[in-house]
Amino acid sequence: MKVIVCVKQIPDPALPGELDSATNTLKRDGKLILDESDSYGVEMALQLVDAAGGGEVALVSMAPNGEVSGLRTALAMGAAQGVLVSDPGLAGSDALTTAKVLAAAVQRLGGADLVLAGTESSDGYTGTVPEQMAEVLGLPSVTFAKSVAVEGGSLKVNRQTEAGYDEVTCPLPAVVSVTAGVVEPRYPSFKGIMAAKSKPVDTVTAADLGVTATGWDAAGQQITSVTQAPTREAGEVIEDDGEAHVKIVEFLEGLKVI
């Protein structure tokens, strides 16, 4: 079984963003890491290939400056190879262009039985890319999967809903987006980390994939302004001296909630 996982490499959320004093733009030269929410997809792919008795997990990613450090993490977990799309022309791409690029990268790897993606990235949250990829690839899709199994050549998925979950069956090949927390991502072993250094990453441009970046303007939309949303005023902040709960009770009484 061949599974391709879409992974995003993002600035470390634990580190504060830093402004370049010369240009007043965000410094983008920092190291990127594997988006934590994508590590679940990598883990699920590895488990599915194991359960199928063999096969391969491959990766597709899009990142500036030929950045591979996040990809190396996924390779160290056990993925075999990756395609990295790195192209200055793709900076600021919308979700549709991203989906076209990643779908083309999947095809460059010769397609797959299953394409896995996270439900949304931890820095953008657009959340439409997996379903868009499925349409570009002409495949069925199941979004918001809590669990995924392959039985008799088709997928059995428990899909998160507003009220609970649905059991869904879906033929292969297919695209599935997985919610986080459904599996426990493994930590790369030392051996895995060493092996990852020599695993192949095919770095390509949009043109190599035959994708034209359309961007916002071509799509008929212009961003006219970017402003901070109105903020709330902070209220009273107190240190707990062991009696802070009394303060909360008084606050709730004042609102007649209790």
Partner: protein, 306 residues
């Protein structure tokens, strides 16, 4: 260009039109022009309400036969558009179904999508130009729902065409996770827990406090991702948007992802041991302290009041 033909992606639960749908219809109506609703399923039970809130017609796919909505509804809508009714704007709710249908449609029509990007701390004003249809998703509670007192919407059939290779994803069983007490997005009081609780078992404190206050329990994305509680309890950008009278954040630092879903609450109480946590920037009452000490005492005090 003018926006003269607007479609609203409508949803119903047990035959009742969702509040989110009514909010979008109200907004669509205010933009002028013709408003149509589109719905996956049968519309006979909901045409009255959809019309009352401003839809002059409703395109209905009929029973989806268990097919997942994304490819099925998007294909049905493309058939309507190719049949000659070309909308300028299609409005979607930012939820499971809305996102999937909008995503499929964006590829079929080769149009970009406007979603609530960047977690809601930044407003990005966007101008549409050129020819529609434009696709945009809106967070719940972005607009107020008001009846227009109109008559029933005319039901038009929009059958799902053969989906070819994109079809086949089928729901075989539906599981409803029973929850007691008020619904998270309707409760007057919401108590949410985050990573500061330390471990999954401690979420019981949040549940207990919610019960005592006759409210609902919610969660930050961090502990949903960690598998402590189900996704349906997530408050935030991609979870539920809540605007209760009182919101209590316990052990939540206040990542943008979370704040988007709760900063519209009337009153906010935050308990966190890190005095620098961003949550204190929006709290009316902030307690810098350990949730493991404050919550048990608070529970005891409230339970003692009977």
């Amino acid at each position: 260009m003018t926006i003269s033909n607007i479609w609203v992606f409508a949803q119903a639960n047990d035959g009742a039109v969702t509040t989110g749908t009514l909010e979008l219809l109200t907004k669509a109506r205010s933009l002028g022009g013709t408003v149509s609703a589109v719905i996956g399923g049968d519309a006979s039970a909901v045409a009255g309400t959809l019309g009352e809130f401003g839809a002059s017609r409703v395109y209905a796919t009929g029973d989806l036969g268990g097919a997942l909505p994304g490819a099925a509804i998007a294909s049905a809508l493309v058939a309507v558009i190719e049949g000659g009714d070309r909308p300028d704007l299609i409005m979607f709710p930012q939820n499971y179904e809305g996102r999937d249908v909008m995503a499929r449609l964006s590829v079929k029509l080769d149009r970009t999508v406007i979603t609530p990007v960047f977690g809601g701390n930044t407003l990005v004003a966007t101008t549409f130009s050129g020819e529609g249809p434009f696709l945009a998703a809106f967070r719940p509670k972005s607009f107020a729902a008001e009846s227009a007192g109109g008559g029933a919407a005319e039901v038009m059939a929009a059958p799902v065409p053969d989906l070819g290779s994109t079809g086949g994803a089928t729901v075989t069983a539906v599981h409803v996770e029973e929850s007691t007490g008020p619904k998270l997005d309707e409760a007057e009081v919401v108590v949410s827990g985050g990573r500061g609780l330390g471990e999954a078992d401690k979420f019981a404190m949040v549940d207990d406090l919610a019960k005592v206050l006759k409210g609902a329990a919610g969660a930050s994305r961090a502990i949903v991702d960690a598998g402590w509680v189900p996704y349906s309890m997530q408050v935030g950008q991609t979870g539920k948007v809540v605007k209760p009278n009182v919101y209590i954040a316990a052990g939540i630092s206040g990542a943008t992802q979370h704040m988007v879903g709760m900063k519209g609450s009337k009153h906010i109480i935050a308990i966190n041991k890190d005095a620098e946590a961003p949550i204190f920037g929006v709290a009316d009452l902030g307690i810098v302290g350990d949730v493991h000490k404050v919550l048990p005492k608070l529970l005891e005090a409230l339970q003692g009041r009977g």
